[in-house]
């Protein structure tokens, strides 16, 4: 695609792209740290994840301010307008993802020691999938790669399936052993955080799809896409 006649506009968009990408990377790292803290029951690491959430919120505010500034000063049209509208939504989705990573970390602090391992393995699996999804969706954003965005969107099914498995497992453990109710509740919350992270990533994939095509992804979907 051709560059803008006004070079400063290109420079500002480039700067905004870097901010969004940095925020995606920060969220990816927050999830990685939260899951690492869960695997090793590292409470200090979990606390650092909780603390770091403020930095993610600041990144979102920076992106919003820059986007509003560009909307106000540049009066973007067509692809540029869709880009800025999408960037503001993507930043909002990433901010929520950051919140869920911090929530996961808070739940780690409430677990008994040592917790049962099986639900942890499934939560780690879900978190790993979500990390890959964030990475891929940010690549899709960067490259305006519609196909990659759609693949990310479809990957969310994996998280949903694992969440359903984890819920069944934890429910059974809590029924079989009432001592597990407290930890089981924390696991359910953590699993739910992963599941919601997946949902927010699919929203980002939809934003990328709209940004690149001007179409609403859900309008383009056949019913097959919704089969889990």
């Amino acid at each position: 695609m051709q560059k803008h006649i006004v070079k400063a506009f290109d420079a500002e968009i480039d700067d905004l792209n870097k901010k969004v990408t940095a925020m995606g990377k920060a969220c990816e790292e927050q999830i990685a740290k939260a899951v690492s803290a869960l695997g090793s029951m590292d409470t200090a690491l979990a606390q650092s994840v909780v603390k770091q959430d403020k930095a993610i919120n600041q990144l979102q505010r920076g992106i919003e301010e820059k986007s509003v500034s560009l909307l106000t000063r540049r009066h973007p049209m067509a692809g540029d307008l869709r880009y800025l509208l999408s960037v503001m939504k993507i930043a909002s989705e990433l901010e929520r993802i950051g919140d869920y990573a911090a929530n996961m970390a808070k739940r780690i602090l409430a677990l008994s020691l040592p917790p049962v391992q099986e639900p942890i393995d499934l939560i780690v699996d879900m978190a790993d999938i979500s990390r890959t999804m964030i990475h891929d969706v940010m690549d899709a954003f960067w490259d305006m790669d519609v196909e990659k965005a759609v693949k990310v969107w479809q990957t969310d099914n994996l998280i949903d399936r694992k969440f359903a498995r984890m819920m069944a497992m934890v429910r059974k453990q809590m029924q079989d052993n009432t001592d597990q109710i407290d930890d089981g509740t924390q696991f359910i919350f953590m699993g739910r955080c992963c599941e919601r992270i997946g949902d927010h990533i699919t929203n980002i994939a939809e934003d990328v799809y709209y940004m690149a095509t001007g179409q609403i992804y859900m309008d383009q979907c056949s019913d097959d896409h919704f089969v889990c």
Binding site: M1, Q2, K3, H4, I5, V6, F9, D10, I13, D14, N17, K18, K19, T21, A22, M23, G24, K25, A26, E29, A55, L59, H75, P76, M77, A78, G79, D80, L81, R82, Y83, F141, W142, D143, M144, D145, V146, A212, T213, G214, Q215
Partner: protein, 300 residues
């Protein structure tokens, strides 16, 4: 902040290889028509056409220079259609065909068919004087006659025989100035020269003059380019009101103005009508690469 720094460094290297998504993304939008394709994209027809243009070509210098090429487009009843495009693209040439203003240019040849209510306006039997009353025109620079405000309005109806006496003329002057939103500002000084008004008032006087002869279509060639933002807003508000009674074709270099005032937008480039469609679609999700690149400021 370390995270952000790392991400920036990493992405900068990607930038060099594949480009920035909004600036030079490597994935072309799959639905955009190639810039080499010169056929009109979008729906040229409307269900209720006031004017219909088919295969309209205009040549200057006795056929030496082709200004527009086989343009086909409907102008709907009670719609505002905006013509946009870079300088020299043919948008003004096109609207000047709609009331045969190009007839006044030596060596200008118009081919194709243009109808007003299904009557060919280039038919030999057509008298251009009443045609230009039916299809009125407002120009970039306000051009009031060197007469009083009153006479600026009254002159046209008098020569077209639309008024029979002073009373009828007074009524028409008042109603025209009211429809143009100028009455309250000039009702106490109708005998003063039209040229004594401000730029925005002069332009509204010209619009009042145009509507005084009871047109059906109003052509506007950059009517606000010489006006300040307030005068522009007043004219745009007026255009929206006039749409209830007339069809309006407006040429503008302001993308924002086109998006504010029109229901449909036509994009011209180097004499071709590249794309026409609903204004919201043109400015949010155009179909042609050239339209997209023009309205986003990538060439002009």
């Amino acid at each position: 902040m370390q995270t952000e720094k790392n991400a920036s460094v990493s992405r900068t290297s990607v930038d060099a290889a594949s480009g920035n998504p909004a600036v030079a993304g490597k994935h072309r939008k799959p639905h955009l028509v190639d810039r080499e394709n010169r056929a009109t994209v979008g729906e040229i027809n409307v269900p209720n056409p006031k004017m219909q243009c088919r295969d309209v070509s205009v040549f200057y210098d006795y056929g030496e220079k082709e200004a527009i090429r086989k343009v086909s487009l409907d102008i709907g009843q009670n719609e505002v259609i905006a013509m946009i495009g870079p300088s020299g693209c043919g948008k003004s040439t096109f609207i000047r065909c709609l009331n045969r203003m190009n007839d006044t240019i030596d060596g200008c040849v118009v081919k194709g068919r243009i109808t007003l209510d299904e009557i060919n306006i280039y038919d030999k039997s057509i008298d251009v004087v009443p045609l230009r009353a039916q299809v009125g025109m407002v120009f970039q620079k306000p051009n009031p006659f060197p007469k009083s405000i009153y006479d600026n309005i009254a002159y046209g109806p008098k020569i077209h025989g639309l008024v029979q006496n002073k009373s009828e003329t007074d009524d028409l002057v008042e109603s025209s100035l009211k429809r143009a939103g100028l009455w309250n500002e000039v009702k106490d000084r109708l005998d003063q020269p039209g040229t004594s008004l401000s730029g925005g008032q002069q332009q509204r006087l010209c619009i009042a003059r145009t509507i005084a002869v009871d047109p059906e279509v109003i052509l506007m060639d950059e009517p606000c380019s010489a006006l300040d933002p307030i005068a522009t807003a007043i004219i745009e508000d007026l255009i929206d009101e006039l749409r209830q009674e007339y069809s309006i074709a407006i040429v503008t270099h302001s993308m924002q103005q086109a998006s504010r005032v029109s229901q449909r937008t036509a994009f011209f480039h180097l004499g071709d009508l590249i794309e026409v469609g609903p204004t919201e679609q043109i400015f949010l999700n155009p179909l042609h690469q050239l339209t997209h690149d023009y309205i986003t400021g990538r060439f002009g």
